[in-house]
């Protein structure tokens, strides 16, 4: 942990992530200035610019933008975190296994990975979500499917390297069971590339979720997600730009945080780059 904080990128990334963690907690329990879906239909409350009553302004229903940005965190972040967790576990499993077992199984898995790689990511996610129907959680399998192959490749490469090392061959000859080899020799070597990929995939997943929500395939209104808020604010970009700016910034900083974290990790694991 101390190492993490000694790196500038990692420290800022951790800081931002912590801020978002707080947002996530506030959002989960709806601890917001106003209830996030509460409408104030009076004219004096609708489409108000940022001010004392509504810190980030209000939308066409007189809903408080700040409350919605806070609440939106649970959808945007949850989808990103859960889908990347699934993709990482599944991908790591497939990748490690396929690299370790080798042979026809490896070929088959890698062809499968090729198939998913060649499929344009956003279109695949789009088709999957369309098939499942829109919903807060339906973006999760879609994004997980899209990113699993990346993790499979990332996990497989170090396995191949390790497998070829002399001491592993020796261990095999000595009759050490496979699971022990994987557990104690192979896995530790895949951890660092996986961690780096996870933090980067989180940022991609967040952007993908925003894109899907932007196309109307995310959580269902009146619940907010940042992408959905951007979609709803788009036609008001001239008359009420705050409706586009704040959710846009929320996405921007979250992605920034994950990226910085990823950078930091990369520098820590690969000190050569930290000149």
């Amino acid at each position: 942990m101390r190492a993490l904080l000694s790196n500038r990128s990692a420290a800022i990334g951790t800081g931002i992530s912590l801020v978002y963690l707080v947002l996530l907690i506030l959002g989960t329990f709806s601890i917001t200035p106003y209830p996030p879906t509460e409408q104030h239909p009076q004219k004096s409350d609708r489409l108000q610019p940022p001010g004392a009553t509504y810190l980030m302004g209000s939308d066409q229903f007189g809903r408080d933008e700040l409350s919605r940005v806070i609440r939106g965190s649970i959808y945007s972040l949850r989808v990103a975190v859960v889908s990347v967790t699934i993709a990482a576990s599944l991908g790591a499993l497939v990748g490690t296994l396929s690299g370790y077992v080798g042979g026809w199984f490896d070929s088959l898995m890698m062809r499968l990975v090729d198939v998913f790689f060649a499929f344009p990511a956003i279109l695949l996610a789009l088709a999957v979500v369309s098939a499942l129907g829109p919903g807060a959680n339906n973006a999760i399998p879609a994004i997980a499917i899209v990113y699993t192959p990346i993790f499979a490749r990332v996990a497989r490469a170090p396995v191949l390297t390790v497998k070829a090392l002399d001491y592993i061959t020796a261990a095999r000859c000595l009759g050490v069971p496979s699971w022990r080899i994987v557990r104690f020799h192979v896995l530790p070597n895949t951890i660092s590339p996986l961690l780096i990929t996870i933090s980067l995939a989180l940022s991609w997943a967040l952007l993908t979720e925003a894109g899907l929500s932007f196309l109307g395939l995310g959580p269902q209104p009146p619940e907010p997600s940042w992408g959905l808020m951007l979609k709803e604010g788009r036609n008001f970009i001239e008359t009420a730009p705050w409706l586009s700016i704040f959710p846009g910034l929320a996405i921007l900083f979250a992605v920034l945080g994950f990226n910085l974290l990823g950078d930091g990790l990369q520098e820590l694991f690969d000190p050569r780059r930290n000149t």
Binding site: P41, Q60, G133, P134, P222, N235
Partner: protein, 511 residues
Amino acid sequence: MFKRIVLLAAALLTVFGLGSTQTTRAQTPTPGGTLVVAQNADISGFDPHTLPDFPTVRALGLIYETLVTVDSNLKLIPNLAESWKFSDDGLTLTLNLHKGVKFHSGDVFTSADVKYTLQRILDEKTKALVRSNFIDIKTVDTPDDNTVVLTLSKPNVSILTALANATAAILSAKSAGLDLKDKKNVNGTGAFKFESWEPSQRLVLAANKAYWQAGLPYLDKIEIRVIPEEASILAALRSGDVNFAVLNDPTVATTIKAGSGVTLQRVPALAYHVLQLNSTRKPFTDVRVRQALSCAIDRQQVLDTAALGEGQVTGPITIPLYRTPTDQLPCYKPDLAKAKSLLADAGLSGGFTFTVIAASQEPPTAVAEAQNVAAQLAPLGITMKIETMDLNAYVKRWLAPDFDAAIALNGGSPDPHLQFVRYWTSGGNLNKVAALSDPKYDDLLGKGQKEVDPQKRITIYQDFEKQLASDAPWVWLYVGYEYRAMQDSVKGYIATPLNSIAYLRQAYIQK
């Protein structure tokens, strides 16, 4: 409902200058030039009888024409037919056709073309959209080149309005046997003729130099471009890349400010925004629950929040001539206390939960309407969940009907019979979507169809309207506007409702 569907479209004025048009023609028109028009979707083909989507109907309305049409007050006026007469028993309709009209192919327009057109519509294989409006036609006779006599199997007053529908446009008899979906076979009598089409990009029309209304059109060409985002359409208008545009979204249209070089014209639409309740599903099987919803919802608030106040609260009838003032309809003044007591009577004082379906972009305000209605129902303990989907998925659920409730934009017609018959008569093809039928409705609508006296007809439909509002199978919300936006240099255009831009024939670009 939706953009894709039109009950009736195209309002063309026959002899220009006639009718109730306040033409602002101070200067003399400058002929010539190409007008660039933008709409948010491409046409879906060229057969005027089978394609219901708004962009197609709008564009084909420049190429094809109908026998009669409506003016900006929705009054029937002559078009290709210069006059008509119903027999006293209401069983024969005689139409006298305009002389000197030619198709784009050069063929002269005669009664044979009308006969062919009606036969084509009535032929089931054509899949004509408005076929059901014409099934009372027994025979079509053509005593001479300029006279058509329709003999009906039973009195049907609304058949004349049905002839004004743009999807009942007149084709040439020479089109028989040709594939009208093919752009090679486009052949109408309208002020503009087909020139070229690049799918998803543009449709180009050229002036019909032999047009029967002397001196028209002024423009040499119309180029209709497809710009999917309405915000982008507006940007194109501002930059001058587009001269004229059709807009649907009030949140976009209202950003146009006076003096910005772009003018916005509004016409009240006939299509209505409505919350459809499914009376075959609990708890909406109970009329008190439906009434409670109708009493609880402040329709003006839905209009103000979802459509920024762009429109007018409406009852079931949207035609100005037939409409009952909304303060005379039950539950049009929001009354939460009454709603609560109705719910209590129905044994639901604790509220309930149901799901509403809404198409994500059709109309653009649908999801916003659903959100406001949901917020308004919350104080009653009613939880309305919103399920949004793309139009295709929505249409499937809507038709089934597979929904507790649906937010819809349903098409209007200048004739109340044509607007109601498919939903509210027990044999109507959308009666199961309306999800409620009642012998009283069949009776009133049957009377209305036969009634020749205009005043009596109004009374019949107003009775029907009050009955519907009181039974509350649906909660009618509001009618919006149809928007036409143009650069200040575009002159002479008159905005008419029913999705028509046919008046572009007398528009010109001021030099």
